[in-house]
């Protein structure tokens, strides 16, 4: 169906080709999963299928790309529209109209299909993807999963034979991701559609794939094979596969169900071992921030209703819950972007914690004096002024609390990485070079002259993290940090967060990523409808939850194992004691890069 013959792609101004001599054949009716680190040419491969590369992107494409016999050399993307449906990574940015029904009809209108055909296909497609109830809804009011389904439906109406999806679930919470993947599954099984799908979150999709394509990058040849074959040799793998490798299972399990059926023997071997505890004794650590009876409302919508949370030094707290549950609002209140409508948010008074000097708040006090009773909606701010994050500004804020927003690029302004670091030093009032040194620790492969926009997702996150950490804030907040990160970048982030917690920072993350939570969080708070519905040590909260349990926990329940590293350590311990991990550090993760050991 899709055929690449000796395809090389070189973008203008680049010396090295992104793809070199790719030969690939995807037969009809397959769900083909494309994986690889960011920046290796995955997107280029996908966009070459309908001719966006090179017709739209520029650059040079050597070789031939044909879909059902139609050559992209002679057919620009608009002439492939009836054959290939392409769904962009962020569906929102690809919408042309403003109502669901019109959006579904748009592509057919462009192709000039007669009206009766359009009417019929719109109705059929709505039923196929369960959109009939949303027919007249404005696109801007849809949830993430609904938007993604509308985006898929809007390309399906032309009856393409190939569907190309670029990371369809990376921005979705687990429930919405299920919804979208179920729809894709149905297309493959019921309609025999050929699907090419790129995704970082292997744990979500690998069990559905018929074939995997690994794009290693740097012009190296693609690795193509069945998921089981590829997983056996791939450098990155979802936790369930890693668990299979650690336990020596053959064949490797790809889904929780496969693993669970083989896991009886492993569970017996783990009898007598206890999962390592990772609880910071609450009394030992001082609270870095305290939230009491916090109420935040947006008009008639109550985002948070009476939340009480204390965050302690050395703790990594994960905020979980569906979209709109109040996670982001809680982070916003902690960093003072949202003033409470009732209740208080207090940061610990600035002291010297250990040998770490904490910034002065002179500026903040000055600001507070200038506008002492600044309030919103009539509610007086009752917290001691300099302890209320909403009153802090400038250096005073940067040195008390830091937030890495969902899109780390928001924090970056400069044209070069080096300039960005210099500005961050100045903003935080720390000696020149501090931020650059931090960045070297977090991401050693970033070069000074690069434009922040040209960095990979992981590198950009590292830069934003370095910028925020320059002020050494005792409280660090991250909003959806793993969005768009590949496994390697995620492993780096996990290591960095662990080290920060060990160094006495309090870390709070709002995330949907259950595997990240399993790796790094010491405590989980689940929010729903603006209220705290669960709050406790990670294992207690997630193991029994169908939504928040990591794959390892699902396989090994009822025992409270969370990560492959813990299991592997326990297995090694049972074989020999000589290879045990030192100290209280968790055992070395097989996927963890070695560079961190030096830092």
């Amino acid at each position: 169906m899709i055929r690449f013959d000796g395809v090389s792609v070189t973008y203008d101004g680049c010396v090295e080709p992104v793809l070199a001599d790719v030969n690939l054949h995807v037969p009809e009716g397959e769900l083909c999963l494309v994986v690889g680190r960011t920046g290796t040419g995955k997107s280029t491969l996908l966009r070459a299928v309908n001719g966006l590369v090179p017709h739209f992107s520029g650059g040079t494409l050597r070789g031939r790309v044909t879909v059902a016999g139609r050559d992209t050399a002679g057919h620009p993307p608009r002439d492939m529209a009836d054959l290939v449906g392409v769904v962009p990574q962020d569906p929102r940015s690809g919408f042309v109209t403003d109502v669901v029904e019109d959006e579904l009809a748009y592509a057919m209108e462009s192709l000039g299909l007669p009206e009766p055909v359009m009417r019929r296909r719109v109705e059929e497609t709505m039923d196929l993807l369960g959109l009939a109830d949303l027919r007249e809804r404005a696109l801007s009011t849809l949830s993430g999963g609904q938007m993604q389904r509308v985006a898929i439906a809007s390309v399906l109406t032309t009856h393409p034979r190939v569907l190309v999806l670029d990371e369809p679930t990376s921005a979705l919470d687990p429930g919405a991701a299920e919804e979208v993947l179920a729809a894709v599954q149905r297309l493959v099984h019921d309609l025999g559609m050929t699907v090419l799908l790129a995704e970082h979150r292997l744990e979500r999709v690998v069990q559905y794939a018929d074939r995997m394509i690994v794009v290693p990058g740097h012009g190296q040849p693609l690795i193509v094979g069945s998921p089981a074959q590829v997983m056996a040799i791939a450098p990155v793998a979802p936790p369930v596969v890693q668990l299979g490798r650690a336990a020596g299972w053959e064949p490797l399990p790809l889904s929780v169900r496969d693993a669970r059926r083989q896991a009886g023997e492993l569970r017996r071997r783990l009898d007598g071992h206890r999962p390592p505890l990772r609880i910071v004794a609450p009394s030992a650590a001082a609270p870095v921030a305290e939230v009491c009876g916090l109420v935040v409302r947006y008009g008639s919508v109550v985002a948070l209703r009476g939340v009480d949370v204390a965050v302690r030094a050395g703790e990594v707290t994960a905020l979980m819950g569906r979209n709109g549950a109040g996670k982001s609002t809680l982070l916003a209140a902690l960093v003072g972007l949202r003033r409470p409508d009732a209740g208080t948010v207090r940061l610990a008074p600035p002291t010297t914690a250990g040998d770490r000097p904490v910034g002065t708040t002179e500026e903040a006090v000055r600001e507070a004096r200038r506008r002492p009773f600044r309030s919103r909606r009539g509610s007086r701010v009752v917290a001691t002024r300099s302890d209320d994050p909403a009153e802090l500004r400038g250096t005073g804020l940067v040195r008390r609390v830091g937030l890495v927003p969902q899109d780390p690029a928001d924090l970056l302004y400069a044209d070069r990485v080096a300039d960005e670091c210099r500005h961050a030093d100045a903003d935080a009032g720390v000696p020149a070079g501090s931020t650059r040194a931090l960045l070297a620790l977090l991401a050693p492969d970033v070069e000074d002259g690069t434009h922040p926009r040209d960095l990979s997702e992981g590198q950009r996150l590292s830069l934003a993290l370095a910028v925020v950490l320059a002020g050494e804030p005792p409280l660090l907040l991250l909003d959806e940090p793993t969005r768009g990160l590949d496994y390697t970048a995620k492993a780096r982030l996990v290591t960095a967060l662990r080290r920060l917690a060990d160094a006495g920072h309090a870390v709070v993350l709002a995330t949907h990523d259950v595997e990240l939570v399993a790796e790094v969080a010491t405590r989980v708070i689940v929010l729903a409808e603006g209220e705290v519905v669960a709050d406790g040590p990670t294992a207690d909260v997630v193991v029994s939850s169908p939504m928040f349990a990591p794959q390892v926990a699902k396989v090994l329940a009822p025992a409270a194992w969370l990560t492959v590293a813990d299991v592997a350590a326990a297995l090694q311990e049972s074989v020999t004691t000589s290879l045990q991990a030192p100290g209280n550090e968790p055992a070395a993760d097989p996927t963890r890069p070695s560079w961190w050991a030096a830092g």
Binding site: P77, R78, A107, Y298, L403, A409, Y413
Partner: protein, 390 residues
């Protein structure tokens, strides 16, 4: 209702139950509103003007969907009040002396000789205030008519009914409309991020610092959108001969010019009669012909086009009747179109004008009711700003 039922040919209008709920063609609402506002433009009689506002208001109340854009009637009314107020204030401060009934005597500021003719302050007369109120009211009424059309006709449906040749323009407008709110959220997000970095968020530096990231973001999105549109078949064209293209361009240009002149002639009572309706019709004809020719280049088809049936003709006709009533009054030389202010007298009500304007009320009944699901079509947007960086 009976008129609609008897005149309706196609099946969806008949059946004893009367007109089935559906959306009226937005063009019909605009024609109706233009008719009313033409009527308003030719009179300063406050009673007639108020009557037009009430007529428009009643129709809006009867056939307004529950969507964000449907609230614009009230907004335009407020804008009209503001216009009247400004007009009166200007008249009081700067207006030339008029009439003799002084109600208030402001100190007059002596101005140098070369500013002769301009007066600052001085006596304020009833006549001058009334004149200003009537004049402002005329503009306010025309604004109310536009507001009514905005409330009744969904802007996106109107754009979709544009002729094929103007399709590109329509797309550009739709994209701009969806980009604008996105830009606002972007600005909020970037300002938030600046605060997180301890940078100023207000003042010149704050704005300058926020501008770059916002523009970069908008540009990125535009590129993604262009790619998405390209891969969905946007811009497929049929070949057209050079001569056809030139003829269609000429017709379009001439037509638009004719329409402009015609509208001017129609709105300005002092223009020669030939410049009015005949010019407008000739221009419109040429433009339609040109658009038709140019539209052949596009192979697009249209999904569920709004039909133009009996109710559309009737609604548009009601607007035309309102305009005609006022024009006939003027043609017959009847009194009452211009309000008397020297001395102020209670305005008369010329029968043809009143009748015409009252016909403008009919669409409240003859337009098909709006579809029931329209109330759920665009649920009220949750009144919360976008969450931090969400």
């Amino acid at each position: 209702m009976t008129a609609a039922a008897s005149a309706a040919g196609p099946a969806d209008e008949v059946s004893g139950a009367g007109a089935l709920p559906r959306w009226l063609h937005p063009g019909a609402w605009w024609l109706w509103a233009i008719g009313l506002s033409t009527a308003a433009s030719r009179t300063t009689n406050p009673l007639l003007l108020l009557l037009i506002i009430v007529v428009a208001g009643v129709v809006v109340g009867a056939r307004r969907p529950d969507a964000p854009w449907a609230r614009s009637y009230i907004f335009f009314l407020k804008l009209g009040l503001f216009v009247v107020a400004i007009r009166v204030v200007l008249q009081v401060l700067l207006g030339a002396p008029m009439g003799t009934t002084v109600v208030l005597s402001l100190p007059q500021v002596p101005l140098p000789g070369w500013l002769a003719g301009v007066r600052l302050g001085g006596d304020v007369t009833v006549e001058s205030i009334l004149f200003a109120v009537y004049d402002g009211l005329r503009l306010a009424t025309m604004l109310a008519c536009i507001g009514a059309a905005n409330s009744l006709a969904s802007p996106s449906r109107l754009l979709r009914s544009l002729p094929a040749a103007l399709y590109e323009v329509g797309v550009a407008v739709v994209v701009a409309l969806t980009f604008a709110p996105q830009l606002v959220t972007d600005i909020g997000r970037v300002r938030t991020a600046r605060r997180l970095r301890g940078r100023p968020t207000r003042g010149v530096r704050g704005i300058a610092g926020a501008a770059m990231p916002v523009f970069e973001g908008a540009l990125d999105r535009a590129v993604v959108l262009a790619a998405a549109m390209d891969s969905r078949g946007y811009g497929r064209t049929a070949d057209l001969s050079r001569a056809t293209r030139q003829i269609s361009a000429g017709l379009l240009l001439g037509g638009v010019l004719g329409v402009c002149l015609g509208v001017y002639g129609l709105l300005d009572a002092s223009a020669p009669a030939l410049l009015g309706l005949p010019m407008l019709l000739a221009g419109a004809f040429a433009a339609v012909l040109g658009l038709g020719l140019a539209g052949r280049r596009s192979i697009r088809s249209r999904y569920r086009p709004d039909p133009w049936r009996a109710p559309e003709w009737l609604v548009a006709g009601c607007g035309v009747m309102a305009a005609a009533g006022v024009l006939v009054t003027a043609g017959l030389g009847l009194d009452g179109l211009t309000a008397q202010v020297f001395p102020p007298t209670w305005p008369q009500l010329p029968a043809p004008a009143v009748l015409g304007i009252l016909l403008g009320l009919l669409p409240a009944v003859i337009a098909p009711p709006i579809p029931r699901s329209a109330t759920a079509a665009v649920p009220p947007r949750p009144a919360r700003p976008v969450e931090v960086a969400a």
